[in-house]
């Protein structure tokens, strides 16, 4: 995929733009991590011509799994045995539909949060904006649980010195926090034994330095 957003201006390229615009692009990223680059160009117009917002969905498998886990399993007796049966999500229809609803939901929240952000003359959408949007748009009931999750998330982040998990690194391109840089650095200092803590420097001709223990290699 062409990552350079400057090439989307077809007049510059001198070609008809038909193959670039107006198509429906359903994004299939194999490697979710690596594909961020084309999206990082901040000139608002360029990258958005590639796709329409309604065509980007979350993976159907993930969505279906969450749906199934949300619906209570019923006990059914099947050929004499008691079995726990999870809900039948019917044809792909219901699942695909929820996929679309999800994208709609995200866009809905984001545009509301974005608006608030702009009103306050800020450029970066932060957590507060999102929570505010939830509250405004009738998803008040999510706010408290979300705050708790955020707390847990932050704690998990702090405890992970040296581990950079995939799920978090995506966001680092936007705003780098202090936490993202804490890592355990291996100790690189070699100190000599003795009363004085000196770094041993080995030279071809060494002098007897008072207070420093000499190390002899045999």
């Amino acid at each position: 995929m062409d990552g350079d957003s400057s090439t989307t201006d077809t007049t510059q390229l001198g070609i008809t733009g038909e193959y670039m615009t107006g198509g429906t692009y359903v994004l299939q990223t194999q490697d979710d991590d690596g594909d961020e680059s084309f999206n990082d160009h901040e000139d608002g117009n360029g990258s958005k011509d590639y796709f329409r917002e309604q065509d980007i969905y979350l993976p159907i498998a993930n969505v279906a799994r969450i749906m199934k886990n949300a619906i209570p399993q019923t006990g059914k007796v099947i050929s004499g045995n008691f079995k726990n049966v999870s809900c039948n999500l019917g044809s792909k229809d219901a699942k695909e539909c929820v996929q679309e609803c999800v994208s709609e939901f995200i866009s809905f929240m984001t545009s509301e949060a974005s608006e608030r952000c702009h009103q306050e003359k800020r450029k970066t959408i932060n957590g507060e904006d999102i929570l505010f949007a939830m509250s405004t748009l009738g998803f008040d009931m999510y706010v408290e649980p979300l705050k708790l999750y955020l707390q847990k998330f932050r704690e998990a982040m702090k405890g992970e010195k040296g581990i950079t998990p995939v799920t978090v690194s995506e966001g680092l391109g936007e705003e780098l926090t202090d936490e993202s840089f804490t890592g355990q650095l291996p100790a690189g200092l070699i100190t000599a034994d003795g009363q004085q803590q000196n770094v041993m420097v080995y030279t071809t001709s060494y002098q007897q330095i008072p207070g420093v223990q000499q190390i002899q290699f045999s």
Partner: protein, 119 residues
């Protein structure tokens, strides 16, 4: 740090963060909104998590509201119904139109044409 210790730590962290949706994809969808420039880490996490809650919420509401309880099925029409009937989900009515059987639609078309002819 031993290998096992590391594993435990990662697992613990993943469970605490507890996300089952791809964050990068969520970010992509967010960025496709007009005038969105930067999204901070918290916002991204909250949106992803909220989306999970939303899926659960939508699925459960549709199921409870729908006729599938006896048959243990969640169908499209359950979703369409809940969108129309619940205020919270009303923003979805455009993308969840109630479906009509093709033959019923064709019938009503025929009837409209007849009416036109009669005029």
């Amino acid at each position: 740090m031993s290998g096992k210790n590391m594993e435990e730590k990662v697992e613990q962290a993943t469970n605490s963060k507890n996300i089952s949706l791809p964050v990068s994809r969520v970010r992509l969808i967010m960025k496709s909104s007009p005038d969105v420039s930067c999204i901070n880490q918290d916002a991204l996490f909250l949106t992803t998590k909220a989306t999970e809650l939303f899926v659960q919420h939508l699925a459960l509401s549709s199921y409870k509201n729908g006729s599938g309880k006896e048959t243990n099925t969640l169908s499209y029409s359950d979703l369409a119904n809940v969108a129309e009937e619940t205020e919270t989900f009303q923003f979805l009515t455009d993308i969840l139109p109630k479906k009509i059987l093709a033959r019923d639609y064709l019938k009503s078309l025929e009837e409209m044409e007849k009416d036109d002819e009669n005029l």
